[in-house]
């Protein structure tokens, strides 16, 4: 079941060497999401989960492990495809149906958390996410609010091919009526998921499959059951003064590694973890650029009309006079995701690409093209 998250857990010996003021426990993103769901479900009986394999299979990525046993089949609903495990390849068929059901339930004050096995499958249900969830509050002039959360892994995994690797942050973030969140660390995952479940509006919660198993230190405040992060506020993961690097989800990790490399070359990079793609925390980004005068945006998705495009425009509109160099935009390659491992590596931003872009922004001469 759930490993108990209690302050009194005996910490492994090596963590005693970390000089944190509060007890630094490590928690994987998976555990963070699981504990957030668990706590929100126990606090509010109107919260329920719905999705493929969330129940008896314990979650396609084990995020909902243990919840079926704890809360029962009425609150953790396996949507119909589960009987047919052999037909795993047909997983995406039922998306429209159960997403719309989630919306209908949300109209009546229940708080569904709908899991998409990956956000690629959400395209089958995107009509309901946009037209019946996002737009309903507006179309009904405030009568019908939709407190629903759509969550699941987003973006590239490893070797899963073109139809399982797209990043949907830009698509959903362009739609008014939705809130779009993308956590990086366990603290983000816990706080943002809890905020999303409590929020009375539709929230698209974009996780990342490769981050599920990664462990991050969490403080005691994060473990508190009323811990919650505000929606619409970015976090400055690393302070710096030479160049601002914005990123979300897995790319935050890459940006932090790039910042380490840059620090050795004398460039102090400020890394901003966006956390919230919509509403975008323009004020934090602009304040940072006004301080550093240079911007590099990093994202995994397709470049055209992406999140980076919006951030660059926001900075140009509001802080043009402060820029000392053209804004740099790092995104995935403008191709459907290839399968071959080396091509896939080239199609997604790597740490070296971020380092090179930061150096370009700092006018250190560096060639533009990547090598295989």
């Amino acid at each position: 079941m759930l490993r108990a998250i209690r302050h009194k857990n005996i910490l492994p010996a090596f963590s005693a060497f970390r000089a944190f003021s509060s007890s630094a426990k490590e928690m994987t993103v998976r555990e963070a999401l699981n504990s957030a769901l668990d706590e929100e479900m126990s606090a509010d009986p109107k919260v329920f989960l719905m999705g493929e394999e969330v129940g008896e299979y314990q979650g396609a990525y084990k995020i909902t492990k243990g919840l079926l046993d704890k809360y029962g089949p009425e609150r953790v609903l396996d949507t119909p495809i589960t009987e047919e495990m052999a037909l795993i390849c047909l997983l995406n068929i039922l998306q429209a149906g159960f997403t719309g059901i989630g919306v209908g339930a949300a109209y009546y004050g229940l708080r569904p958390v709908v899991e998409f096995m990956t956000f690629n499958f959400s395209m089958q249900a995107i009509d309901h996410i946009i037209n019946s969830a996002a737009k309903s509050n507006y179309m009904s002039a405030g009568q019908i609010s939709v407190p629903i959360v759509f969550r699941g892994p987003n973006g590239a995994a490893a070797g899963v091919g073109a139809q399982h690797s797209q990043c949907y942050a830009a698509w959903y973030a362009s739609c008014p009526g939705l809130k779009v969140l993308s956590p990086y660390s366990s603290e983000d995952a816990r706080g943002l998921l809890k905020a999303a479940i409590r929020d009375p509006d539709p929230v698209v919660f974009l996780e990342n499959e490769l981050l599920y198993g990664e462990s991050f230190p969490v403080s005691a405040e994060v473990l508190d059951s009323s811990f919650c992060l505000p929606i619409g506020k970015a976090k400055i993961e690393r302070e710096g003064k030479d160049v601002t690097i914005t990123a979300f989800s897995k790319m935050v990790g890459y940006a932090l590694k790039a910042a380490e490399i840059l620090a050795k070359e004398g460039i102090s990079a400020e890394v901003i973890n966006l956390r919230s793609i919509r509403p975008l925390d323009r004020s934090t980004i602009n304040a940072s650029v006004r301080k550093t005068n240079r911007l590099v945006t990093v994202e995994e998705g397709f470049p055209q009309h992406g999140v980076g495009a919006e951030i660059c425009t926001s900075v140009i509109e509001e802080s043009f006079g402060y820029l000392d160099a053209p804004v740099e935009r790092i995104a995935g390659a403008d191709v459907p995701m290839p399968y071959a491992a080396n091509l896939e590596r080239m199609a997604v931003p790597q740490v070296e690409d971020i380092v090179r872009a930061a150096k370009r922004a700092c006018y250190r001469s560096v060639p533009l093209a990547a090598t295989a």
Partner: protein
Amino acid sequence: MPLSATNFAQPRPVPVGIRSNEKSLSSDPFRFRFRGSPSFLGSPHSLRFNPTPPLKLAIPHCRRSAAAAVTDVSNGTMVKSSANMLITKEEGLELYEDMILGRFFEDMCAQMYYRGKMFGFVHLYNGQEAVSTGFIKLLKKEDTVVSTYRDHVHALSKGVPARAVMSELFGKATGCCRGQGGSMHMFSKEHNLIGGFAFIGEGIPVATGAAFSSKYRREVLKEASADHVTLAFFGDGTCNNGQFYECLNMAALWKLPIIFVVENNLWAIGMSHLRATSDPEIWKKGPAFGMAGVHVDGMDVLKVREVAKEAIERARRGDGPTLVECETYRFRGHSLADPDELRDPAEKARYAARDPISALKKYMIENKLANEQELKSIEKKIDEVLDDAVEFSDESPLPPRSQLLENVFADSKGFGIGPDGKYRCEDPKFTQGTAHV
């Protein structure tokens, strides 16, 4: 039968023998639809709905519940029950008034549209009033109705005032959605009308979710009084759409209190139902998923009402969903922009002769439930209601500029609403305590 948790989530065993029985009940669905062999890409002219030879579409006996009414589709007469009158005088007048309101309202919409007061897409319901009135007048206020873009009359039957609907169509701030929804997006929380959806089939999963919430409230939140049912209205074209089948499956699987009402008016804009559907008998798709499937003459409000009564009672009891196919017809085109050239005038004339309002009028007068005078006075009253609605809408203000950005979110500050119901960001302890920005 008490509803236990196991009923809720486990799939029910598929009844044996439904399919074999099915075949014997209606051997060749095409026999009485087409002349000669059905042509796959035939033009609509060769596929006329031909009611002769007479059609006696029997209802399959769903093994789990009693069959509903057998209807006589071929001629337009009303079937009197073997016992007494089907309705009392008060009920009859209520039904008549509701249908007249629907008809006159839609006619007024057409007038207003051509005068430029209404704009965009307007889809009128003339001819189908029996379905809306027959079903919705049996509902309680807490029951839910989900509709499509052809939703004006559903809104009126559910109780949304004519003034509010008309203003909404004019795009005024006094409309039921303050002018933000329009013809295709009628919402009324007070009357539990949750849309108004433009995409066909979009309302069906939402209705299934509303039915789910009713069941959830009763079983998980233990609210004993939560027995409200949901009606999902949609057309024949929607029955070829994937979402419809997904929801039939889930509603039957989880035994949700929902009634799927198909308003089969034989035409999806200009696509004839017979040309678009492999098996045009939609009611048969119910038993395929394990629920009752019923066909009813949708031009006869009393027959619709009988079928509706049974279906609603079944849902309220907790015995699960019903699929009701109402054979009806729209007298006007798909929308006010549709020139309506593809439909055979003879077909239109045939259905005009079966006008539900005239039929009810005839029934009430013949059975001495009302006289000509009373019915005329109802019509006059509705005329006045509509004149008042138009005047009210004309005089209502347009939405103010500030309304453009309102209502995008229930909570636009982006911090969420805390457990005490207030914006979390207004709590001074918010940034000091557990949330570390």
